[in-house]
Symmetry: C2
Subunit: 244 residues, 2 copies
């Protein structure tokens, strides 16, 4: 099975959480946007997917993962699917729901991180909402960032199993996503986030443990990994950060 | 099995999507916040759940559903759980993932609806972010509302099965949630949303069909249904609406 991953080129975006799972699983996948237009790929292929009138179950947005004839949308849903197929989630129902619950909480966190630079809407440029972004970022760094970090640090503490992971004693897709969020926060808020992480040793250890996995390390060093950049979900605007 | 639903009293909030599923299923549940404090309920019980240090798998927020010893958080995750147990979702894997994908898209929609009145953060009062709320609402009504409504109308059109439902020929939890979103939009934006719904007949029919289900009708007429109000997710601020 070779998966097709549909996502816009040039940014990590929400596809990055899917890519990390595919890479850790050693799964074969094609990043459709990177296939030449002449071979049916490229940005045009993403737009086509979103406007294809023959799809009975159309996606609202990308990322989407095609697995044979099945087309799966919504990041957390894709991870739920991959988790079952590639042993990136517990086998029992209770463990699977718990892992998914954590992923959905990470998703909420990501929305709030994104909205620090786009509080008034995605159709406006950052420059058009800079003052609002400053206020939202201040609120985020004061209230939401510590609340989320404390929560995930607590989840790690209470897991109680040996190892650095959030669920049980094996790595799950949630660990991969969490590590990516921490890396993103370090990029976006090198002052505030790095300072906040000082008192959350388990989250720091989790990021290290994920980024040291052999397949993840190879992926991060490859040209498949898009670098953090300011067209992306995590953005570094010094005026939104607070000193470290 | 009697479920316990943990959520703040006095608002529908995100628990409403869970309540509609429980009611349609004819499931027995206790709204913990409505149980007297002297019997271990009330608002204090919700706060206790969120701060209980003995919970191995702590929730970040409510709603949470207790099913025996299992505690499930995140609205869409609770619905995934209830969908399987109460035939409110297809049995096959592909259908279950598709239903969940739609629910997660509804969840994104809800976040954006909420943020029209709180674009700068939940820790600030509406009065402190009124100007930003006006701009965000204008963006929302211009770009996002039609995009989401067109999408869900298209899903209904492409379903192709008889009946008013989004997935196949049976009602799923997604239909219940969608009907609640439409009712919420009518409350929050009696001008813009009502006008926007004029050209989406399938969504109007879906809301009618859901609200005419015998169990849903009884629920909506009962005192278990909290009325829409301006402390809630959907808020009616005339200055955020645009004329119908």
């Amino acid at each position: 099975m070779i998966y097709q991953l549909y996502y816009w080129p040039g940014i990590q975006g929400r596809a990055e959480y899917v890519r990390l799972a595919l890479e850790e699983a050693g799964a074969s996948y094609i990043d459709v946007a990177l296939v030449p237009d002449s071979q049916g790929g490229g940005e045009a292929a993403i737009a086509r997917l979103l406007h294809d009138e023959r799809i009975d179950r159309p996606p609202f947005a990308v990322p989407c993962l095609a697995a044979g004839r099945q087309l799966i949308g919504q990041t957390a849903n894709i991870l739920l699917f991959l988790g079952e197929r590639h042993r990136l989630a517990p086998r029992g129902a209770a463990g699977r729901f718990w892992t998914h619950q954590l992923q959905l909480t990470i998703n909420d966190f990501i929305v709030e991180i994104h909205d620090t630079h786009h509080p008034l809407g995605g159709a406006l440029y950052y420059q058009q909402q800079k003052a609002a972004a400053r206020r939202r970022s201040r609120e985020f760094l004061r209230h939401r960032l510590p609340k989320y970090l404390d929560y995930f640090e607590r989840v790690l503490l209470r897991n109680g199993k040996r190892g650095a992971w959030m669920v049980g004693s094996r790595l799950t897709y949630v660990d991969l996503s969490m590590a990516q969020v921490i890396a993103g926060l370090r990029y976006a808020f090198p002052g505030a986030a790095v300072r906040a992480l000082r008192s959350r040793p388990r989250l720091r250890a989790l990021q290290r443990a994920v980024f040291e996995r052999p397949r993840i390390r190879r992926y991060l060093a490859s040209d498949r990994r898009v670098a953090f950049n300011n067209d992306d979900l995590y953005r570094r605007y010094p005026e939104l950060d607070s000193p470290g």
